[in-house]
Symmetry: C2
Subunit: 293 residues, 2 copies
């Protein structure tokens, strides 16, 4: 596919050539020929909430403040409306501190660690399902024409995903416009960075679509619902529990999106099928993540 | 590719039709047509070491005992040569208890939680690099003819990976023979199940190859090295730190294996290029994980 280097939709677009995100390594191929590759960097970042060390995350390191904010928010460690006094990132120590006024219940949450299935550490402190009972997702309709447009734009956007592999991307979208495209070695980091950006910028979730390259597992669905985003779409597949949670919470869940195809397994009622699928271009065989299937 | 349902190499092969591993769900496709899919089940399993609750893992639930043993071993919570008195799985409570005689240092390890990038929760208690200094990997040679044979056999094996998507597989191999093929919603669970099996059966690692569908991140490389397996191969890509650790610890790291192609980024000295790559069949375009790219 032709790269569209000048998509002006994005507020935040991937920066695959940015310093420090990839590194050149040399290997040998099947013929014994030297081959140079760009591979993705991952580095540890320790997240603090006030004086409490919470976790060390492995990340490509492009948006440490958003990652910290979004992680804490998505783990339920920041209450709704909690005032963020500041977010301090120390590059040398690889530490980021989120400062608030309130007392948080993080000690309780730290005790209950759930190892989930998601790409990236899916450490879900506290009860995974806690908070979902309070969630009501906006009935905002979503047009299939917009979904096809989004997928086409996203697939054409230069990114680490396409360049260096071993990475997942998640994109916050509105209508037919991709807004914020975050990448990381783990898809949960990518989602958390988006949550951190939304919190930081005071952006509403009701009219947004979250598009991800990763699988639609229970943790992805829970995060998306807790972020208040009513539509979650992916190229990839589903788990049964991911589907079940989406159905229970009324989230529109669309997976296996490739070319004209997709499957909607929950929240069918938001979908407006205004596009003729047969008119949608099939993806060229080389679409998708480099270096993996 | 033709499915080879009677590959007799496997000691443990995937059981994609086994009850409870997948569930039928109904959705609608792009044309609004009802479509039935099999999607993978994930369920929580709480792992105890003696009386200490360690973690709750989301898993497809096929080998809870191996998962618990392997997880604890790979997190460094079981010392080398530690006597396992028993492994008790309670299906109703979704709990598995690994019982030993010794005192373990798990409290220290529980304090240091690292969120890593890997598929499946990459919660790496304790210092991630701890233990790598003591690792010496056997110089066992590996033939490219064997690697090509393994990839072909593994790609043809019926599995949840191929059937239902949203899952990762890891296979313990010896020579040109795949031995133990574990799958799970997260690749770290799949690796841990293999480690648990090896521990349970008293199987040596020196002459083994670990093949995975997932990405070659730092955590995957560390686990493989700590398991004593000298060769790690994947269809997928690498991260820079994964490559660096492999080089430091002397592990043979081979990625982007598709058809005749691969890239070796570490441990080149074990490789015997005895196959002519041009004679290796290209993969048909539909190889690889269903429902994802």
């Amino acid at each position: 596919m032709a790269r569209l280097d000048n998509i002006t939709d994005y507020l935040i677009a991937p920066q695959p050539s940015a310093t420090g995100l990839t590194r050149a390594v040399t290997g040998t191929d099947q013929n014994g020929t030297k081959i140079d590759l760009n591979v993705v960097e991952e580095r540890p970042l320790t997240i603090y909430l006030n004086s409490q060390e919470i976790v060390t995350a492995m990340t490509i390191g492009d948006y440490p403040e958003y990652l910290a904010l979004g992680f804490l928010r998505n783990q339920g460690m920041l209450r709704n409306g909690e005032v963020i006094k500041g977010v301090d990132y120390d590059d040398e120590l690889s530490v980021v501190v989120v400062r608030t006024d309130g007392q948080t219940t993080y000690e309780d949450k730290l005790k209950k660690k759930t190892r989930t299935s998601g790409c990236a550490v899916g450490t879900v402190f506290g009860d995974m399902m806690e908070g979902l009972d309070d969630v009501t997702l906006a009935p905002t309709p979503v047009k299939t024409s917009d979904l096809y447009t989004l997928a086409a734009k996203i697939n054409r956007t230069p990114s680490l995903y396409l360049e260096a592999g071993a990475i997942h991307g998640t994109v916050l979208c509105q209508g037919d416009r991709p807004l914020v495209y975050m990448e990381d070695v783990g898809r949960h980091n990518a989602v958390d960075k988006i949550a951190g950006w939304m919190l930081s910028e005071g952006v509403t979730a009701d009219d947004k679509v979250l598009y991800t390259t990763g699988r639609l597992t229970s943790e992805m669905v829970i995060k998306t619902a807790l972020m208040g985003i009513p539509v979650l779409a992916s190229r990839s597949g589903f788990t049964a529990w991911g589907v079940e949670i989406a159905q229970q919470v009324g989230l529109t869940l669309i997976g296996r999106m490739k070319g004209q195809r997709f499957v909607c397994l929950a929240g069918e009622d938001r979908l407006i099928r205004d596009a003729d699928p047969s008119q949608i271009e099939n993806e060229p065989p080389k679409s998708g993540r480099k270096g993996s299937k």
